[in-house]
Symmetry: C2
DNA sequence: TACTGTTAATGACATATGTTTGTTTTTTTA
DNA sequence: TAAAAAAACAAACATATGTCATTAACAGTA
């Protein structure tokens, strides 16, 4: 059996993917070259291929890692017995935290998925559709239980997810607004608009 | 003097930019090649350069056209004497209509601006910052006049603009929700969250 | 018909791209 | 310390890129 890692607990592959996440976010997947990536990793471009199979594989890893985190969190929320309003708040906060703490991954998953090769692309879009559908179901339930005001669930989900993903522009800004204010204000805005 | 146009009232340059808008939206600026563009225009790649100066110039034209429309609309709203809440509703509706009617342009302006060459890039970002600042000012005024609930204006603007730009994903979808429902639901959601 | 200005096509340029091959160096294992 | 495995390298590949120079087609006017 192989002694897995040397430094820290991240394999070289993980390092490559981490660096790639930042690079892809900064320049976009298409505009970021393998030679760019090699440079930030501190290696020649050809050497990358000892650890990964293709540029696209890196994108897959990033996109699906982010997607899986959202899905598994949703599952735990669905299994809980909180009110629908509280469920939505929990989910919104989770999305915000992901935007704050795993910005690169979430950003790429949000914006660069179109460069995924098939069949990963279809797979990704299916997961996404299903995720949104399940959020919509929570809102539908909230309306039926009279916890939420009458609103189109599809549009509500769209609005919430888009709003949160706009935190991207806060990340790029000089951040004169603190992360705390950002979170509480956005949650307040999105929940008030939902609450009956 | 030259007889300007043959067909319709759009110059070849305008046709190129129109086709490019669609192409850039579908494939992304970086992944869309001049040869791709030439094909949809129905001409050889090199011939495009009789009408435009560079690929980047096309992007500039698209981004600034969209930006200018938003700015000049904002100016007319600022000059009006409606309530702050009504002003914001007007602006939100305008953004939604832009997403519905000029989807390609707005989308590119939203997502591909980072490929603008300097000094256009700085210019664009300045305009954007200023635009958002002015929206924030309307909200601040609304709070002072007790027309809106206490909320961080920066975050409110961020939330609103991001939410609207999420209509992109509706555009790409099978549109089982009508444009009318989309507009009224989103306006309701965003205004309710603002109203005192 | 000949002239003129505009646009298109051809073919090429220099460079950049993702990736492979073959080889050497470094690290791990025995 | 020697053998084996893993990782890095240099060089090259085939192709794609934005763009330019030159030349040919073609319209409208005289």
């Amino acid at each position: 059996m192989a002694k897995i890692q040397s430094k820290k607990n991240s394999s070289k592959k993980e390092i490559i993917i981490e660096k790639a996440a930042r690079l892809f976010r900064e320049k976009g997947f298409g505009a970021a070259s393998m030679r760019d990536l090699a440079e930030v990793v501190g290696v020649e471009a050809a050497s990358l291929y000892n650890h990964i199979q293709s540029k696209a594989e890196i994108l897959q890893a990033i996109c699906f890692k982010a997607a899986n985190e959202f899905i598994s969190h949703l599952e735990s929320v669905e299994a809980s017995s909180e009110s629908t309003l509280k469920k939505m708040e929990t989910i919104i906060r989770f999305h915000i935290h992901m935007m704050l703490d795993h910005y690169e991954y979430v950003y790429i998953s949000d914006h660069e998925w179109r460069h995924l090769p098939e069949p990963y692309l279809s797979n990704f879009l299916n997961q996404r559709r299903s995720y949104r559908k399940r959020l919509g179901d929570i809102i539908s339930e909230g309306i039926h239980k009279n916890e939420m005001k009458q609103i189109d669930p599809y549009v509500a989900v769209l609005t919430i997810l888009s709003a949160v993903s706009g935190i991207e522009s806060w990340q790029r800004s000089r951040k004169s607004t603190s992360a705390d204010v950002l979170e509480s204000s956005m949650v307040k805005y999105l929940i008030e608009g939902l609450k009956k």
